[in-house]
């Protein structure tokens, strides 16, 4: 969709404000630190691969036992215990109510809820 210059400028300005915000920056820093850390990266990749493998087995009709899922749950625990991943997830949880408040500001001006209309389907 073609957007007017005025809309593009207003949208860009909001995005830039968010990026410069200390609160969002804490999350972006944590995200980057996790993304570039080989250990954290490998751990998450391994956990998701194991998860996909279990889902595929279930979809083929297999009934999984505790032993089958043990490795996944151990990996999940390691992921949760990883300090970088834990900080990323914590800061992500913290920005959500804040981002919600900002979106509410748009909704208030519009008189309709911005978020469900703007969310990619």
């Amino acid at each position: 969709m073609e957007l007017t210059k005025e809309i593009q400028t207003a949208a860009r300005r909001l995005g830039q404000c968010l990026r410069q915000d200390d609160y969002i920056r804490k999350y972006l820093d944590a995200l980057e630190e996790t993304r570039t850390n080989p250990e954290a990266n490998a751990l998450e990749t391994k956990m998701y691969a194991e998860y996909e493998r279990l889902i595929a087995r279930e979809q083929e009709g297999e009934i999984l036992t505790y032993e089958d899922t043990r490795e996944f749950f151990e990996l999940r625990q390691q992921v949760q215990d990883n300090p970088l991943i834990s900080r990323r997830n914590r800061t992500h949880r913290q920005i959500r109510p804040y981002v919600h408040q900002i979106a509410e500001e748009i909704s208030f001006v519009l008189g309709v809820d911005y978020t469900p209309l703007a969310k990619p389907h």
């Binding site: 949208a11 404000c17 968010l18 915000d21 900002i102 979106a103 703007a118």
Partner: protein
């Protein structure tokens, strides 16, 4: 000073709330939004739509509480939904909703690219703490 839940004394360089208000104002003046707003009002003031919606809510409540052993509520809800979507005012509402949604999604893409975080996705209200 803007309060950030769960954080202590952050420094704000530019106020995103003001930027959000400005964006809201700019969006409110677009033809897509005006058409959507008018269609929403028409739907809200349409007696037939309100009557059908009230009937639908009663069936949804029954389904919510698991009171549909013979499937009557499910069947009736489907019939009412079809009847509702068939109304002229509702079709106009859906068409304008599609247009405004395309506009807002394009706007949201710019915000998210600039911010480095998905804006609308993260703005969605959730009580879930499932991200770990």
């Amino acid at each position: 000073m803007i309060s950030h839940p769960g954080m202590t004394s952050p420094t704000i360089h530019i106020d995103p709330f003001q930027a959000a208000q400005l964006l809201g104002k700019v969006l409110s003046e677009t033809p897509e939004f005006r058409a959507f707003f008018a269609a929403s009002k028409a739907v809200y003031n349409d007696a037939t739509i309100q009557k059908l919606s009230a009937e639908m809510r009663s069936h949804q409540t029954a389904l919510h509480w698991g009171r549909d052993p013979d499937g009557v509520h499910t069947a009736e809800l489907t019939r009412l939904e079809l009847e509702l979507e068939d109304l002229q005012a509702m079709q106009e509402y859906r068409a304008t909703e599609k247009e405004v949604s395309a506009l807002f999604q394009a706007v949201d893409k710019i915000i998210s690219q600039e911010a480095g975080v998905d804006f609308a996705v993260n703005a969605q209200h959730t009580g879930c703490s499932c991200s770990g």
